[in-house]
């Protein structure tokens, strides 16, 4: 076949240019280490790399939420720990105040100390989260979440928890109202109290549950009655007589009714009355302290009232401390969960970057060897081109 000279030149130059283009592409790929420099290099790989890259971005964002949540939970855990210590101090102060030999002035001093502890607790409850919000702000509080009013501490925000993710449980606040204002009152099952009108110095303890199956959940009145000259105890359930009817009073003797065991101590007088009501989740730590403080500050309080106040105060402190500890444990377990989330996010981030790298990164070894092949090929093409084009019959026509 004849070959047209012009066409041969053109074709050779074309193929040399093609080789040069291939080499330039290979070089670009090697310089930035990417196999995929534009989607058309490998459409599926490019899409996979893009998805992995965007997942990586999302994971980084989620990790920021995890960090924020962890900060909040760490602060909350520390705050609850401090609250526990303050409550412990309050408890010790109450125990000291129960000393029967204290004068009203000495009780006043103890009351002042309790008041001091109370304001520290309130400051803790209103602690900020360092970013303009409140640690115990629940689902939102514009000012402080706990307002100290003459009628007691009232919640200024909305209860519940603010979460940082709709898929994972990542709180940025803790439910302050549940923690500070909603411990279970009494011993957790029922609450004992002395009637404020009591004239004697008798006082009732917090009571214990002796038979859970027999509990009725009703309201009880423990009345001190005169049974033919014998100081006796009668217990009424919702106004109706129970098995304990005219039981002779002996200080400290157990009164067992409907699965509850109560102890009445001191010197009650006829007509004194004590109540037993079902426990409710409404024990407000501030209110509990306020109640004790009010009695301790009252110079006219008789030993019975003082003992009742101290006893109720101790019972409440215990309940609140238990409640706080549970909340602290929850914050701790939340921290654990966040650590797990953190670990998972790290794994996912590694996964995402691995997928991205697998999809778009260049296999350097292969690339270098391909490039060298191309180089050799290009060199050979150049040489043969020069050699072949040199040959012409005109060179021999002399």
């Amino acid at each position: 076949m004849r070959v047209s000279t012009a066409n041969r030149y053109e074709a050779t130059v074309d193929s040399l240019q093609q080789r040069q283009r291939d080499m330039a592409e290979a070089q670009t790929a090697m310089t930035n280490g990417k196999r995929i420099n534009k989607p058309s290099d490998d459409p599926t790989g490019a899409a996979r790399a893009e998805r992995a890259y965007l997942s990586g971005q999302r994971i980084a964002s989620e990790q920021r939420s995890v960090d924020a949540s962890r900060n909040a939970m760490t602060l909350a855990e520390a705050a609850l720990g401090q609250a526990g210590e303050l409550l412990q101090s309050a408890r010790e102060t109450l125990v000291a105040a129960g000393n029967g030999s204290y004068s009203p002035a000495e009780r006043q001093a103890q009351a002042n100390q309790l008041g001091n502890l109370r304001s520290q607790l309130l400051a803790l409850a209103n602690q900020g989260n360092g970013a303009g919000g409140f640690l115990f702000g629940g689902q939102g509080a514009t000012t402080i979440p706990f307002l100290d009013t003459p009628a007691g501490v009232v919640p200024g925000g909305t209860g519940g928890q603010t979460l940082l993710s709709s898929t994972e449980l990542m709180p940025s606040t803790v439910d302050g109202q549940a923690i500070w204002l909603s411990a279970r009152s009494g011993n957790g099952v029922f609450t004992t109290a002395a009637s404020p009108a009591n004239a004697g110095t008798g006082w009732i303890d917090a009571g214990t549950v002796s038979d859970p199956a027999a509990l009725t959940g009703g309201n009880y009145d423990v009345e001190v009655v005169d049974n033919n000259g014998v100081l006796s105890i009668s217990v009424l359930r919702n106004g109706n007589a129970t098995a304990v009817d005219n039981q002779p009073y002996r200080a400290g003797q157990a009164i067992t009714v409907d699965g509850m065991t109560l102890h009445l101590k001191g010197t009650p007088v006829v007509g004194d009355r004590f109540t037993v009501t079902p426990s409710a989740p409404d024990l407000d730590v501030f209110e509990a302290l306020d109640r004790s403080i009010a009695v301790l500050k009252d110079p006219a309080a008789n030993p019975g009232r003082v003992a009742q106040a101290v006893n109720a105060g101790l019972r409440d402190m215990d309940a609140v401390m238990g409640h706080m500890q549970a909340a602290r444990a929850e914050a701790g377990s939340m921290l654990n969960r966040l650590d797990a989330l953190d670990g998972r996010n790290q794994d996912r981030a590694v996964w995402a970057s691995t997928v991205q790298a697998d999809a778009e990164d260049l296999d350097m070894l292969q690339a270098i060897s391909t490039f060298q092949n191309q180089q050799t090929g290009y060199q050979a093409a150049l040489q043969s081109y020069a050699m072949v084009q040199r040959m012409s019959l005109f060179d021999y026509v002399k």
């Binding site: 047209s4 066409n7 459409p43 998805r51 999302r58 989620e62 514009t142 603010t162 709709s166």
Partner: protein
């Protein structure tokens, strides 16, 4: 036999050799001239004379100069060149288009993801104005990237229009020249010899027209060539040529099409009929690739932008007001075809309007709406991206996420409308919310579980799925048994609804959805109330963040949708490169075959040069011999 006949014979030989040397030199001179065909001298014997002892040859005559021609190979070269030009230009345009859809940090996928991420930061601290400002910045990033992507697409469109116009102008010039050449060739042929240079020039013109526009050529007996385009419209006939004119597509005047002006009658050439050539490649790119790119971008922008706007409307801003829109999008369009019926004032009689009903169901396509011939009140709707024909639609129907409204005047038979639900969305995307306080990060409703609850149920999410018909009002959810039975009470404890809760399914009422974790017990209460501290609520910011995981774009997440766009564009480019390589190789081979047949090989010419030089020398020797003989004769006579 005389010396004079010897002399004349030598002269013819010398003349023939000279002619051959001239032709060979011309071949050598034109070795690199585009379109030049190798020429050769056709010789024939000059007859013979009878002189009793036989017939004596009288030498050689130069009959004519012919060019090497191969009609079949030439036509093949033109046709394959057309196809290569079409595929090549599409590849070039697609490579440009590919740059519009960047991947990784520079891509729209990243810009969208950054919006969601910025909302996650707002959720962490909803009252932080810096975090809110960051969201606005991300929205602006997304909008400007979408706009610039759209601008790049439109600048491709503008370049394309320019290229088509340039291509048509070139074809017109070439066609005019060709008509002139036809006349010259016819005249020259009449003189008895083939005008080789003119024929070469005409072949070259056909090739150049063919690289712009696919042509059919027919040779007439008078050696003129007629050129036909499209469905057989005449471009050149003898000495007459007609003009191709750029003309807007009758169905979409933003697109360019091609028409031919034959004696004042302008006939549109359908894109499909244009075949191959650069202009055809550009038009195909415009019709398929560029339109798809515009629609994919628009679908992405509409899906995300409208979902963000909807979510914004369901939340409360820092002032406790329902959110005002974040984005302003250019609305969907319904374009009447250019040949729809018009009134006396030249305005279209019928009109169609479309509105977006469900941004998540939008498809990246345009649609054609025509009255259904079988039923006057119904319409045929065709999705142009895949050619799907929907069951006949009525006024007010919603298809693929948009609602079609006909009227007030309904289209008459023969009318058609091009519906563009998403095409223009990216072009006019602007962020209209400028105040970071206006971001609706707060949930309008807040749910609180009652502390006295005995069950373990906690609120996983209280979501506003649609603005409640009865407004946001305080309600209490009370469980009436341990199996999950509940009643929903209004503020006055009047029952609004009852139902049964099953784990994993949110409790829904009037646009609100309450998802619970854990198990409720009988008597447990959850109070739902309008949010009293919108500055501290992050509920809606979380919903915004969660949009990243939702199928906003025709059932896929924004990230996946964008990755799909990348893959789609990549596959197109890959395919275009492959077919361009393929057709270029075919064209190169056809060209090589043609030039092998008709082109100049310098070695061959060198050999011929030697050959003809020797002929010339031999002829000269002949003359010398004749002269010697003549001299000998003269000297013998003079004695």
């Amino acid at each position: 036999m005389t010396t004079s006949s010897l002399m004349s014979l030598g002269t013819t030989a010398l003349y023939a050799a000279n002619a051959q040397l001239l032709t060979t030199s011309n071949n050598i001179a034109n070795a690199n001239t585009p379109g030049y065909s190798r020429q050769s001298v056709e010789l024939s014997t000059a007859g013979s004379a009878y002189n009793g002892s036989g017939y004596f040859g009288r030498g050689v005559t130069v009959s004519t100069v012919t060019r090497a021609a191969n009609m079949f190979l030439a036509q093949q070269a033109v046709a394959t060149g057309s196809a290569a030009a079409a595929d090549g230009v599409r590849r070039d345009m697609l490579s440009q288009l590919e740059k519009v859809f960047a991947s990784g940090e520079a891509g729209l996928g990243q810009a969208a993801t950054q919006i969601f991420n910025a909302f996650a930061d707002v959720a962490t601290n909803p009252s932080d104005l810096a975090a809110r400002q960051a969201v606005l910045g991300r929205l602006e990033d997304f909008a400007s990237l979408a706009r610039s992507s759209s601008d790049q697409i439109e600048s491709l469109q503008a370049n394309l229009v320019h290229d088509v116009q340039g291509g048509l102008a070139e074809v017109n010039t070439l066609a005019t020249e060709m008509a002139k050449l036809n006349l010259a060739i016819a005249a020259a042929t009449n003189r008895g010899h083939s005008p080789n240079e003119l024929l070469d020039q005409r072949d070259e013109l056909v090739r150049r027209i063919g690289s712009q526009f696919q042509v059919q050529t027919v040779q007439s007996p008078d050696q003129t060539v007629a050129v036909y385009v499209g469905n057989g419209q005449t471009l050149v006939l003898g000495g007459a040529s007609f003009k191709l004119v750029p003309q807007a597509d009758p169905h979409d005047n933003s697109r360019i099409g091609v028409a031919i002006n034959i004696g004042g009658q302008i006939a549109q050439l359908p894109t499909d009929a244009i075949g191959e050539g650069q202009v055809a490649g550009l038009l195909r790119f415009q019709q398929n690739d560029l339109a798809d790119a515009r629609n994919r971008l628009g679908q992405l922008v509409s899906g995300l932008g409208l979902a963000l706007n909807n979510q914004q409307a369901l939340g409360l801003d820092l002032q406790g007001q329902a959110g005002s829109p974040l984005f302003k999008l250019q609305g969907p369009q319904a374009l009447p075809a250019g040949d729809n019926a018009r009134d006396d004032g030249g305005n279209y009689i019928a009109s169609v309007d479309i509105t977006i009903a469900d941004p998540g169901a939008l498809v990246a396509s345009e649609y054609r709406l025509e009255p259904d011939a079988a039923n006057g009140a119904q319409y045929t709707l065709t999705r142009l991206s895949d050619g799907k024909v929907f069951p006949p639609v009525n006024d007010g129907d919603t298809v693929d996420g948009f609602t079609i409204t006909i009227g007030p005047n309904a289209p008459a038979p023969g009318d058609s409308f091009l519906l563009k639900p998403v095409s223009n969305a990216a072009a006019g995307l602007t962020v209209v919310l400028k105040n970071p306080r206006g971001l609706a990060a707060a949930n309008p409703m807040t749910g609180v579980t009652h502390p006295a609850n005995t069950g373990t149920a906690t609120i996983a999410a209280l979501t506003v799925e649609a603005a409640p018909a009865s407004g946001y009002q305080a309600m209490t959810l009370r469980f009436t048994d341990d199996a999950g039975g509940y009643e929903l009470l209004d503020a006055g404890d009047n029952p609004l609804a009852t139902g049964s809760f099953s784990a994993g399914t949110p409790i829904r009422h009037d646009g609100l959805a309450l998802a619970l974790n854990g198990l409720p017990r009988s008597g447990d209460r959850i109070s739902l109330a309008p949010t009293s501290h919108p500055a501290a609520s992050n509920g809606n910011a979380l919903r915004f963040d969660d949009l990243a995981n939702r199928g906003l774009i025709d059932g896929t997440t924004v990230a996946d949708a964008y990755a799909n766009v990348l893959a789609d564009v990549g596959v197109r480019v890959q395919g275009a490169v492959a077919s361009a390589d393929n057709t270029a190789a075919v064209a190169a081979r056809a060209r090589a075959e043609l030039s092998a047949d008709v082109g100049v090989n310098l070695d061959e010419e060198a050999a011929r040069l030697i050959q003809f030089q020797q002929s010339y020398q031999a002829a000269a020797k002949l003359l010398q011999t004749a002269q010697t003989l003549f001299d000998a004769l003269l000297s013998s006579v003079s004695r």
